[in-house]
Structure formats: C-alpha cells, structure tokens
C-alpha cells in the first residue's frame, strides 16, 4: 500500500509477531508493543496502562514510540530487499546415539519423551509400506489451518516416515499416517484456546492395525492408538513448525492431550447405527480417518453428576449437555454402545433422527428466561455422534470437538 503502518500488539506476542513479520518479508516491521490484555479493560484502564504506559520491552512511553515509528527515517536494514533462502540443514546427522538424542531434544525436534532414532534402515522399513515415491510431496502444514496467518512448510513421504519412526509407530501404520499428513491439519494449533485434535478411524483397518475401539478406546491402551497419535504430534512439530511456545504455540493453559492426541476407532461392531464414515459418504468397510479439533471431551458424568438414577433418560440428558455447548467450535458425543442402544430404543433409529432432536430449541428456554437465567446458547451446527468404548457400563463423553474432514486411507498404501 506504501503507507507507513503501525500494528499495536501485546508484548506477550513479541516472539510470534517478530517471526511472523520476518516470514511475511518485513523483518523491520515497526510494531508497537503494549501491555496486555486490552480485552475486558475499561477506557480509563487502557489510558493508564497503554496510552500513558510504557512499551514492556523497550520501557519507552508507548505514544512517543508510535510517533517515532511514523517519522523516524528507515534504516539501511529496513530498506533491504531480495530473498532469504532457508534450508532445513543437512539431510543426515552422524554422531553417537547419546549425542544425537541430546541434539534432537535441544533443537526441539521431539516431544521430550525418548524417541526412536530415524536411521535409514528404519525409515526404509516404514517406506516399504507404501507404493508412493519417497520424494513425493505429501502436503503442507502450518501451526493453524485457518487462513494464511502462518507460513506453510512442505514435506515428502520420506519426511513423514522419519517422524513415524521417531514416534515408535509400526511400519504398517504408515499409510494411515500419510493419509493424516496429507490433510495438512496440525495436531497442535497455535490458538490460545489450548485445542486438542482427534482422529477417528473407521473400516477394517481398525482390526488390521489393532486400533482400540472398545474398553479405553480414547486412551493410551493400544500400541496403534498411542503411537499413531504421537506420530501426528511429531509430524506437526517437525513438518508443520508447530508447538514452539511463544511463536507457534500460544495455548494459554495448554492441553496434555496434545502429546498423543485423541485417537480411537469407532466400535462399528456394537453400534446400533451406521458408521461415522458412512454418514460422511464413504462405503461401509472403507478405511477412513476423520479429523476433529476443539477443547476436548469430558465424561458426561462430570457434566451431569446429579442426574444419576435407576432410570435414565439419556436422550434428554445428552440434549441438556449439548444445549450448553456453544456453536463456535462444534460439539461431539462419544457414546459407549450401551448408551447408543438406549438412545436408539428411545426412538432414534438413526443418528440423524437423534441429531434433529438435539438441535431443536431447548424446552427449558422459556423457563430459563423467566428465571432470569442466561438463555441457552444456540445449538452447535457442527455436531458429531461417535460410538466407541466398551459395554461394561453406561458411560459416555461429550465436549467441544468439531469435525473437520475425512480422508481415505488406502490411497496411501
């Protein structure tokens, strides 16, 4: 535009925005750093803290700096043009195992747990499980898949294999990991929401790979669920430049589920409904992985602890929980087979029937208004019902997870 511009940004974002300015080709961008937060402060508070305050980094008065940033001539560095070529370094590293482990951790190429070092032999074993060329570009990833805020890094089949090895994944998991990587969806979003990501696997590949979909489906109780989830994390860190606190990770309180994410199979065998993937347009038994992102899920017993009884109206209880979910980041219920069967026997022959019931305006809306309680939030438009877990009790989890997309796995064999 050719007009001098000053972005006003909280100093907490100094590292992130400095890197962003560099990535955008403006390493000298004259950003004005201020004390945060701005949100929720009154105007007198903003006047005190920002207008009459100081830049927390330079310690100089904020408004004086803004004037200088408009009027101080550009330096030679700021006038620099051209292109900065960045390479990722050598293709291989040779050292003792101990030194390599230390280097990988110091460079933040790990999740801080011990890794399997990616020797050529191990990587080749992984590559043997796909017909794809090792140099084929699989996709591109950035620390957020919304918009173009962060730069996208590209990666090959071999790059995905390296990270799969590091995570301890078995070679037979590789096509599934390539399918996930092909979406370009990061498992750890930069968002200050501290999101978690999830993978749902449908099809015969669940049994082929040993993906757990019964007791403990969402937890780290099977090699496949655990290492596939961890591989997605390492792929995000190393191939998408994700998870660097201060620049590409800003989750305010963080989320422990980012370590291995939520990876589960759907319990198709004991579900009373069509598999999730079939409802998304895929054939039954087709191997499909579906991706989700959100705040995560909690046991419904946590949400509705007071509703325990001899006779449970699960559709109504589930609806009351859904009514509390905002529409911003979607909603997902992971129902154990007994709960799904209770819902079906209550008259919801298909998931779609149940969803229609869930999105209907809450019956208690009028009563809530009379009681001067906050009106129920609108139903989340992005809603997912998954059947997973064991049959040993009537438990289920609900929370904020929005469905993003599904991809076919066998294309990557």
């Amino acid at each position: 535009m050719g007009i001098p511009s000053i972005p006003v940004v909280l100093s907490e974002f100094y590292e992130q925005e400095t890197e962003k300015a560099l990535n955008e080709g403006l390493p000298g961008l004259r950003t004005q750093w201020i004390q945060g937060p701005v949100w929720a402060k009154t105007r007198p508070e903003l006047k005190r803290d920002v207008i009459n305050g100081r830049n927390p980094i330079s310690k100089q008065p904020v408004m004086q700096e803004i004037v200088e940033k408009f009027t101080k001539p550009l330096t030679n560095d700021e006038k620099r043009t051209g292109e900065i070529i960045r390479d990722r370094g050598p293709a291989t590293f040779t050292d003792t195992e101990a030194n390599l482990r230390k280097m990988f951790e110091e460079k933040r190429w790990t999740d801080f747990l011990p890794i399997v070092l990616p020797t050529a032999e191990r990587v080749n074993e992984m590559l043997a499980n796909t017909s794809r060329d090792p140099d084929e570009i699989v996709g591109k990833m950035s620390p957020t898949n919304t918009g173009n805020y962060f730069e996208y890094w590209t990666y090959t089949v071999r790059d995905v294999a390296v990270n799969a090895v590091m995570a301890g994944a078995k070679p037979e998991y590789f096509p599934l990991l390539l399918a996930v990587a092909s979406t370009g969806k990061e498992s750890m979003s930069v968002s200050d929401n501290s999101f978690v990501a999830a993978l749902l696997i449908n099809g015969s590949i669940r049994n082929e790979l040993g993906i757990n979909y019964t007791v403990g489906a969402m937890g780290p109780y099977a090699h496949a669920n655990t290492t596939i989830g961890r591989a997605w994390t390492l792929i995000s860190i190393n191939l998408g430049n994700c998870g660097k606190v201060g620049t590409t990770y800003m989750g305010v309180v963080g989320n422990p589920m980012n370590l291995i994410n939520i990876v589960l199979g759907e319990n198709e065998e004991e579900s009373p409904w069509e598999p999730f993937s079939v409802r998304k347009g895929y054939r039954k038994n087709e191997n499909v992985v579906s991706l989700f992102e959100g705040w995560g899920v909690l046991s419904a017993a946590n949400w509705r602890a007071a509703s325990w009884g001899k006779e449970m109206n699960y559709p109504t209880i589930i609806k009351s929980i859904f009514d509390q979910q905002g529409g911003l980041f979607g909603a997902t219920a992971i129902l154990s087979p007994p709960i799904a069967n209770f819902v079906k026997e209550a008259g919801y022959r298909t998931v779609e029937d149940f969803e229609t019931f869930l999105v209907a305006p809450a019956a208690s809306a009028g009563q809530a208004a009379k009681a001067k309680s906050p009106a129920p939030k609108p139903m989340a438009p992005n809603m997912s019902i998954i059947v997973a877990g064991g049959t040993n009790n009537n438990y289920y989890s609900i929370g904020g997870l929005r469905y993003l997309q599904s991809v076919q796995i066998d294309n990557w064999r």
């Binding site: 940004v9 974002f13 701005v38």
Partner: protein, 131 residues
Amino acid sequence: MKWHKSAAVIAALCIGLFCGYSTVGNQAIAQNNTAEKITVLNPLGNPPPIKLKNMAPRLNTLEGKTIYLVDDGYIGGDNLLYEIQDWFKENHPKTTTLYKRKGGGGFEAEDPALWAEMKEKADGIIIALGH
C-alpha cells in the same frame, strides 16, 4: 599350614575380584570412548523462502496528516483506538485521526473497500489487534 592356605585363598580371591572389577571398569570406559556412531535422517519439513518487501517511506511530520485507526474487530480494540484518538487530539491537534472498523467478517479477512479508501486518503495507519 592351614592358616597359610586360607590366607592364600583369600589373597587370590581379592586379586581376582580386583582384576575383575578393573576389567569391567575398563570395558565401560572403552565403550564410552569408542561409542559407535550412527547416521540418522533430518526430521524437518521445508520452510518456504522469504521474499523481502519494501517498507513504506516514513513521514517527515504528523502535522497536517491523516492517520487511520483500524480496528480488526477483536473485543476491546475499539476502546484502545478511541483512547489513541483522544491522545492525538490533545497532543497533535493538527493531525486528523479517523476510526474505522475493518469489515470482512474475521480478524484476518480482507476489506478491499477500506484498503482502497486508505490508499487514497491515509498518510499513516495504526491497526489494533486486541487480546
């Protein structure tokens, strides 16, 4: 005689134990010094090249200039920009400031109409991002 035999056995055991210990220790040291080197692959993806952009030339003065105060829509950004506007009125009365709420339906969304207006009328821009 019996005593001499016992002493010899004990001495031999001690020598044996000492030698054994020494051998194990030396082996450990030797392993550390000659630890096998292995080759591993680089785990990183490929960052794109950065094309440096021209910075806009600066202003000689703010007097008589028009500064657009652009709110990207994050909660509280408006109040911050109103306070900046008040500061300019008080400290740079010959500078015109105009508050504008960026359209486009999102923090990152483009607002071509506003961009065009600023290209024509703005001498400088302050954009407030909230948080």
